[in-house]
Amino acid sequence: MTDAARPHQTFNWLADIPEYHGLWSWVSSIDHKQIGIMYILSALGFFLAGLTLALIMRIQLMVPMNHFVSQDAYNQIFTMHGTTMVFLVGMPLLFGFAVYLTPLMIGARDMAFPRLNAMGFWIFFFGALLLYFSFVGGGAPAAGWFSYAPLTEKGFLSNPGIDYWALSLLVMGIGSVATGINLITTVLTLRAPGMSLQRVPLFVWMILTTGILVALSLPALNAAIVMILFDRLLNTHFFSPAHGGSAILWQNYFWFFGHPEVYILILPGFGVVTEVIPVFSRKTLYGASFMAASTVAIGFLSFGVWMHHMFTTGLGFWTLYIFALSSLLIAVPTGVKVWTWLATMWGGSLRFTTAMLFATAFIIQFTIGGLSGVIQAVIPLDWQLTDSYFIVAHIHYVLLGGMLFAMISGIYYWYPKVTGRMLSERIGKWHFWLMVLGFNGTFLVMHLLGAFGMPRRVWTYPYGMPMVSAMNFFSTLSAFVLAFSIGLFFWNMAYSFIKGKIAGDNPWDAWTLEWACSSPPPPENFDRLPPVRSRRPLWDLTHPPEDSGRKPGGQL
């Protein structure tokens, strides 16, 4: 359909767009917006699965020597929980945001390779189903989300769980690399006239960096997975020390991917917060060039810290030390981001919508997660605390309190754009406060559980440890508060889709290009683009430079 045929037809509800009617229009779609929505919906679906698994774990750990599930079931459950949350929730969530928003934010019609984009999604989707099929296909994987060798060798875990795990991650990994390359190409080649790389929104900067990390790190995982499949299916012995292989080799491969991976997960979250905070502070981002530069610095450094996951494997002194230094160094650009967000809020006119509340809680919770990371960069302390519940706390402060809070902030912020309806702010506030309460209640005590000697991945713990039992009990209760708040969130999304207020093109008075098209954006995105003269094209429309003698916002 050409612009001429339908010059001014706009819609104010996603379900009204005729091109999006019917299942077939989604299955066969190469529209980045539909693909983005499908990514996000599947991520949310798998999030419910991961949450259910987490609740089973928390019930099992509520009291000592519990037998709610068997130890073998527990081992499958934590493995599936971790794998789900990282690969089936974190990755599709960020890809969903990235492929939905990037073309809109840079004023493009679609991704650079729309068909590759669709392939990336479907390959992810079926890879994910393959992983879950393991539950009925002979047993789920049970070696943790990083599947350390040689436990993954056939001799130790003979059920097909690890094969499912490996095949599914291999398939999804290939899709991710394709999407990563697609994102890089899109940002580099499809920007609107006037939008130099200095003028792209910071979210897009972070997506560009994420794309590069994806394209460079996932191949390491894919290669290692092929080796583990060879070991299991063709009787090679890459990772089997009993036959001259090496157990540590797997860890090097895995973490060479795994550490960039955690930045892959968090950078888009940084991007979301970096868009949300300025808009609701009514100020341009403070120190935008430092923000961009620190992102690139993190991207580089993230390839040089992987051994900090292996500090207790008995590495040489200097190897240990160099990786301790690089791990401490990566905290510096991360800190720069925190200061930048604070300085952006400073002197602004803060509007605490639900999106802004989540972004604000993100700052504190991410800082806590970052600081527990700094504790572990100091190697002797890592030696004491690693592989304990302290790490479980750390993971969740950065991934749940950080990444997921940021993404939820993003959902509150862009839901009006995507669907044409506002989310309920009233339910949103309940969701926010209960989630903050539930999250911190569940995970803050876990730092102490680690200090009291509780290792991660344990199915149960003995009687006679009153502190440990009390804290586990409390953590489980809080987890139910957390789960309830998630229920509110899903209710809000469903209810508001039907009953929400009509959003209008730019409900938040924001300034990046996606707000220049209607809500929801028509299939072809833009009729006409506003001129891009700074990082905030829509702000410039209402605040011409000569207006008050102020400088236009956001130029580097």
Binding site: Q71, D72, N75, G144, Y148, L151, L157, P241, A242, S246, A247, S281, R282, K283, G287, S289, F290, T312, G314, F317, Y321, A324, L328, L329, A331, V332, G335, V336, V338, W339, T340, L342, A343, M345, W346, G347, G348, S349, L350, F352, I364, T367, I368, L371, V374, I375, V378, P380, W383, Q384, D387, A451, F452, G453, P455, R456, V458, T460, G464, G553
Partner: protein, 315 residues
Amino acid sequence: MDLSSAQFTSIFNFATEQGRTLVDLLYLNLWICLGFLVTVAGLLIFGIIKYRHRPGDGEPDQTEGSTTLEIIWTAIPLVIFLYLGWLTFSVMGIVYPPAGKRQPDITVIGHQFWWEYRYPKSGVVTANELYLPLGSDLMLEIRGADVIHSFWVPGFGQKMDAIPGHPNNLFLKPIREGLFLGQCAEYCGSQHSLMRIMANVVSPKEFEAWTKSQAKVPAPPTDKTALHGRELFMSRTCIQCHSIAGTCATAQVAPDLTHIADRKTIGAGVIANNLENLTEWIMDPQQFKPGSLMPNMRLTKSEAHDIAFYLENLK
């Protein structure tokens, strides 16, 4: 199993020189991190109160940044983190010195769901319950027999992975007597959670006595029940996995039972060691430790009782 005689398990309740060094470092690092957190949270809360939107406010000033300020807030954390880097360096040198040609005092071997301890100097071999002499500088060699495990007693300071094909060292100087608990910290399969460590720090004299009693071969049984028990032990599958010094049981894949009667627990800390429990264990280990690699051998109660009786005399 009731382990209430044990010391309170916590990294702050240290029992070795190394543990103390780590706790001191941890306190310092915690203060620094708390400083950061209070700064961030303080600024944020103050900012929220002060700059909250009030009706009638216009658009705020569009400040774009200040290079000086940005350099300052990059440089200050950098300096602090480099200081932490220096501390890392010096503490690592203290608690993890190069081993050189030094021979280990104890070899710790992680097996799927239990621990083997070998004292190469005295030839003692035991399982799950470790004995250490107070005040001596010890070097432990940590090995993995099958998959990766990790030896972690929080009171001792650092943990160390037990990796097959890649022996590691751990340095300990015990400074307090008592029973200190720990457990395997690297997920190692089905029953990872019940792979406990019971580490006893005893006075050098007691350690001497313990070593002596462990090194001698237990006297053969004379009692009729025990004799029957021994016969069953040697004729059933037990000897394919276990060894008992002075007998034809020499297999190495399961805990050495030479002095099983001296141990306080069975199954790496899951139940107390007494005749009744041991009988039950021999009949069906899986009821106490599901996933354990000792199978249920379908012995009758009286057979199991006789074997247990024999084993309980191995002092």
